[in-house]
């Protein structure tokens, strides 16, 4: 574990720093435990299967080593990412407490417009792909309870992660890009799940290579009859 290495290095520094870092890590663990507990078991199983088949080599991912806060423990996995929404394309729920229920916008955009580390929640704020829509609470609601009124058997139609069709080729976009055409808000940055994080965020014209998969049919030239 990286955290052990860190602590070895830090033994020489003063006690205050150690305590602070331990607190941060503890908080992060608590946060992720809470996230995992709140998931529905069925849903998570499906995603675990998907994730198992992902490449384990993430060396090509962007390094956030220069970030002030340790990334590990703050990253959201794809399982956590899906746990916050009813299906791919559904507006994610608000996972943190809200101080003021009344304003339509609260201060959502102060963290969710550009992202970044939020000490209050010990997490990286996800970046909204549609900051021009200011009535956040129209679609995003908090989660104030873990109970259900009645059980629900809805099964989400989440896209499956697609690898490249040709080895080394660009994967297709497996989801709708309506209101989510700002790719880097989910596919780059510390709040993005590593499983779907791009290895080349410096290339900003995503759709030069990645195209949406809108249909599952294949082209077939109509038979000419004459």
């Amino acid at each position: 574990m990286r955290s052990e290495d860190n602590q070895d290095q830090l033994k020489e520094t003063n006690l205050f720093v150690i305590a602070a870092i331990t607190l941060v890590i503890l908080g992060a663990i608590l946060y992720s435990v809470q996230m995992i507990v709140s998931q529905k078991s069925e849903q998570s199983q499906e995603h675990v299967l998907l994730i198992d088949s992902l490449p384990t080599d993430t060396s090509h991912h962007v390094s956030y080593i220069e970030n002030q806060v340790e990334m590990q423990g703050h990253e959201r996995t794809l399982v956590e990412w899906y746990a916050g929404r009813a299906y791919s394309g559904a507006p994610p729920v608000i996972s943190h407490p809200i101080d003021n229920e009344m304003p339509i916008q609260s201060d959502c955009l102060s963290c969710h417009k550009n992202g970044g580390y939020t000490p209050k929640f010990e997490a990286y704020a996800p970046v909204t792909p549609h900051p021009e829509l200011i009535y956040c609470r129209q679609c995003h609601v908090p989660k104030d309870s873990d109970t259900l009124f009645r059980e629900n058997t809805f099964e989400p139609g989440n896209p499956r992660l697609t690898g490249p069709i040709i080895p080394g080729g660009p994967p297709q976009i497996p989801h709708s890009i309506w209101m989510r055409d700002n790719c880097i808000s989910c596919h780059n940055g510390p709040s993005s799940p590593p499983e779907i994080r791009t290895g080349h965020p410096e290339r900003i014209n995503c759709r030069q290579c990645h195209v949406p998969m809108r249909d599952d049919s294949i082209f077939r030239r109509k038979a000419t009859t004459e």
């Binding site: 507006p91 009344m102 609470r137 309870s145 058997t153």
Partner: protein
């Protein structure tokens, strides 16, 4: 799904093999091919949203026979691809694990499962028997603004055309009736002159007691977009409670409940006094009327009222307005005189294009018809009506309150075209329905509140309730619940889940909901929207349309209901369109509805109408400029309607106003939205909002359980202080979605004498701190 290299090579080989085979046999699909490429297998189809009256266009994703996802339909000009939290999660309301899949019959007090066929037999037998014993007016049907257009059409044909009783009502009586009578008395025809396109043309938006940010969020977002682009655009909120809409508004004026009547008259007073009147418009297109005053509140059984309009001159109208100087209005409403002057100025400023919006605040009002008239007055005096950006707009709460209840006319006094009292309307209906004209009763019978009172008295013995939940939503609920439980009352309930209303049912019929059947809804802007059957209903569930057809056939009306199983929706639509075959109300043909995300009527010569009564856009308007053809003289009516106090005011014993309503997450009585985990978990239970000053005075803490009591009932409920809404001092607010906190046991069944719509926004309660 990630493939290993070996799998990949195998799949590529298979793909090229099947591609080679396909090139030999064109048009034939190979199984292997589907295996490989079937990854984006979600199919999308359009439907209007199941919930509110905005009528957002949705795209429903269906995979393997199940609805799995929702997108906003970018093609729909209602929502341009954006939904609210309810719309996005709407498909989850189909999959509550306790969906009703079978019919149930109450035997010796216990519900027992029977086949749907047996249940339909019993419903028909019971109807026959009740008619034989007590006459045709002892049976009734109570539907809703969630009925599809075909549901309402067959219900009307069955009750009015076949059985021959006008005992047909719908819950829209509780939500839209004052809007209807407001339109009828001012313009002679129902439904708005403008449409949602007005939003992008307006720069001033006036909310009349309307928490649009929570109730019609997608339209509110359109307004917010306009304001972001145009710094001159202003939102003005007139309300009795501080809400998210108030917080988003540029100006917020809090007024005493019921005093909107005085405010609207005060604005007109200022317009007339300063001579901001558009005299040319007023002279050419309007005239003035007064009606009866001191008209009562309908609290007693068999209450009857008929208005008596008297023409009046502009000078007489001017004299009437003398009671509404800004200073006098301030005394009644609590809104400062200068603010009344400011409001009048904003309305009148020739640079401003003004849209007024309202919904339940003005409609659930013991003077609901009057306040609708009064807001029209403002727009008529200024000629700011029926033109892009200048319109009064009455919003609706249910997906087809307009399409079904108002346009098909599933109310006691209505027929699909015109009213039962009009011989011509009866002849038309008899001809299209192919029934003897004598069968249609010319006398309206029971409106909703009176229908439940008749059930209590025993005048009514049988009620068939479809797609609504009156045992949560009726005011003064205790009386009407007891009525349904009396001996010799037979209640049939068609629904998709068990609710407090199925609890009192003798027969429960399982219904196919929304995209489990084909149908049409009509939204607030005269837009008719068709949706296909996309998935199968669970178990033995069948559509409400088909349930009515089956019972009608069992009663011997085979000829009238000879629709085919496969095409009955298309056949019903063709039959219904004959009622509206004129430039005033023509509907789009079936194929057009299927192809487009909604069409606004009148649809004439292949063109939909956005601004009615405007001769430039409305095919029925013939006069120069504007033609209010709903009235015989082609003019809109400006009404002198006074302020009159509500029937029950806070007093020493019951010192608080009780206001009820909704939250964005839940819709209607919550039977669908509470089964959607995201929505339930956002607002898991009802609560009472109380002003922080009152709370402090009474030493009530946030989250503390308190007792709220009216003269009719009492509940214990948790407080919320400084939540998403903040009532002023002396008022409490409780949402009605939660069947565990039946707030309508406290509300009063007083109604507008003209529209017969109850007032859920005002009654007197007391609060007791428990412990």
């Amino acid at each position: 799904m990630r493939m290993t290299r070996r799998e990949y090579m195998r799949n590529m080989a298979l793909a090229s093999a099947s591609a080679a085979a396909a090139s030999l046999v064109p048009g034939v699909l190979f199984a292997e091919e589907i295996e490989i490429f079937n990854q984006a297998s979600v199919k999308w189809d359009k439907a209007p949203c199941r919930f509110c009256g905005v009528g957002c266009g949705l795209l429903i994703g269906v995979r393997e026979g199940k609805a799995v996802a929702v997108k906003g339909d970018p093609e729909s000009t209602v929502n341009h691809g954006l939904c609210c939290v309810k719309g996005y999660h709407s498909v989850m309301s189909i999959y509550g694990s306790d969906r009703l899949k079978h019919a149930y019959v109450r035997k010796n007090g216990k519900l027992e499962q029977v086949s749907v066929e047996e249940a339909l037999d019993l419903v028909a037998d019971k109807m026959k028997q009740t008619i034989a014993e007590h006459g045709k007016d002892s049976v009734s049907m109570y539907g809703s603004g969630q009925w599809t257009i075909p549901d309402g059409f067959v219900a009307s044909k069955f009750m009015k055309g076949c059985i021959g009783t006008n005992n047909l009502e719908a819950n829209a009586r509780l939500c839209m009736a004052s809007a209807v009578t407001g339109f009828m008395t001012s313009f002679g025809l129902d439904e708005p002159m403008g449409c949602y396109d007005d939003i992008e043309h307006s720069n001033v938006f006036v909310m009349w007691g309307n928490n649009m940010s929570e109730m019609h969020p997608v339209l509110f977002s359109r307004i917010l977009n306009v304001r972001q682009r145009n710094p001159q655009a202003k939102i003005i909120d007139l309300s009795t409670r501080d809400t998210r809409t108030s917080k988003a508004a540029d100006y917020h004026f809090l007024f005493t409940p019921q005093s909107d009547l005085a405010i609207a008259n005060g604005i007109c007073y200022e317009i007339v006094k300063n001579d901001w009147v558009n005299h040319e418009f007023v002279k050419k297109h309007t005239n003035f009327h007064s009606g009866k005053t001191q008209i009562g509140y309908g609290l007693e059984d068999k209450f009857a009222f008929t208005d008596k309009p008297e023409p009046m001159s502009f000078e007489q109208y001017k004299a009437f307005l003398e009671d509404y100087t800004p200073e006098k209005v301030e005394k009644i409403s609590g809104v400062k005189a200068d603010d009344i002057r400011f409001l009048a100025q904003v309305f009148a400023d020739p640079k401003n294009k003004v849209s007024s919006f309202w919904c339940m605040g003005m409609n659930q009002h013991t003077r609901g018809t009057w306040i609708n008239n009064l807001v029209y007055n403002i727009h008529l005096l200024l000629g700011k009506i029926s033109t892009p950006g200048n319109n009064p707009f009455s919003l609706t709460g249910q997906p087809s309150a307009c399409g079904t209840v108002r346009e098909v006319g599933t109310l006691t006094h209505k027929l699909p075209h015109g009213e039962v009292s009009d011989p011509k309307a009866r002849e038309m209906a008899a001809k299209i329905w192919n029934v003897p004209v004598e069968r249609i009763d010319p006398k309206p019978s029971l409106h909703t509140v009176e229908m439940f009172r008749a059930l209590d008295r025993g005048d009514l013995r049988f009620m068939w309730i479809q797609v609504t939940n009156p045992m949560v939503t009726m005011p003064k609920l205790n009386r009407y619940r007891e009525a349904t439980l009396k001996q010799d009352r037979f209640i049939v309930v068609s629904d998709i889940y068990q609710t407090p209303t199925t609890d009192i049912a003798d027969v429960i019929l399982p219904s196919a909901m929304w995209i489990e059947r084909e149908g049409m809804y009509g939204n607030s802007e005269r837009r008719t929207q068709h949706f296909n059957k996309m998935i199968d209903p669970p178990g033995e569930a069948i559509s409400d349309t088909w349930q009515i057809i089956q019972v009608a056939k069992r009663l011997g009306f085979d000829k009238e209901f000879a629709y085919s199983d496969e095409n009955h929706i298309e056949e019903i639509w063709a039959e219904y369109c004959q009622f509206h075959n004129s430039p005033k109300h023509a509907m789009a043909p079936y194929e057009v509805l299927k192809a487009r995300p909604g069409v606004r009527w009148p649809f004439w010569n292949g063109k939909e109408t956005r601004w009615r009564y405007n001769s430039a856009d409305d095919p029925a308007a013939k006069k120069e400029g504007f033609d209010f053809y709903g009235k015989p003289e082609g003019r809109a009516w400006i009404w002198a309607r006074p302020y009159e106090p509500p029937p029950e005011n806070p007093d020493q014993d019951y010192p608080f106003w009780l206001n009820t309503g909704r939250v964005i997450e839940h819709w209607h009585s919550g039977s669908m939205t509470r089964r959607i985990p995201v929505l339930h978990q956002a607002v898991p239970e009802a609560y009472v909002e109380i002003n922080p000053i009152d709370a402090k005075r009474m030493n009530i803490q946030n989250g503390e359980l308190i007792e709220v009591t009216s003269r009719r009932g009492t509940i214990q409920i948790k407080t919320v202080i400084n939540g998403r809404g903040r009532p002023p001092k002396g008022q409490v607010f409780i949402p009605f979605f939660d069947e565990s906190y039946l707030i309508n046991e406290l509300t009063l069944d007083a109604f507008c004498p003209i529209s017969k719509q109850p007032d859920y926004k005002k009654c007197a309660v007391k609060i007791i701190k428990i412990s």
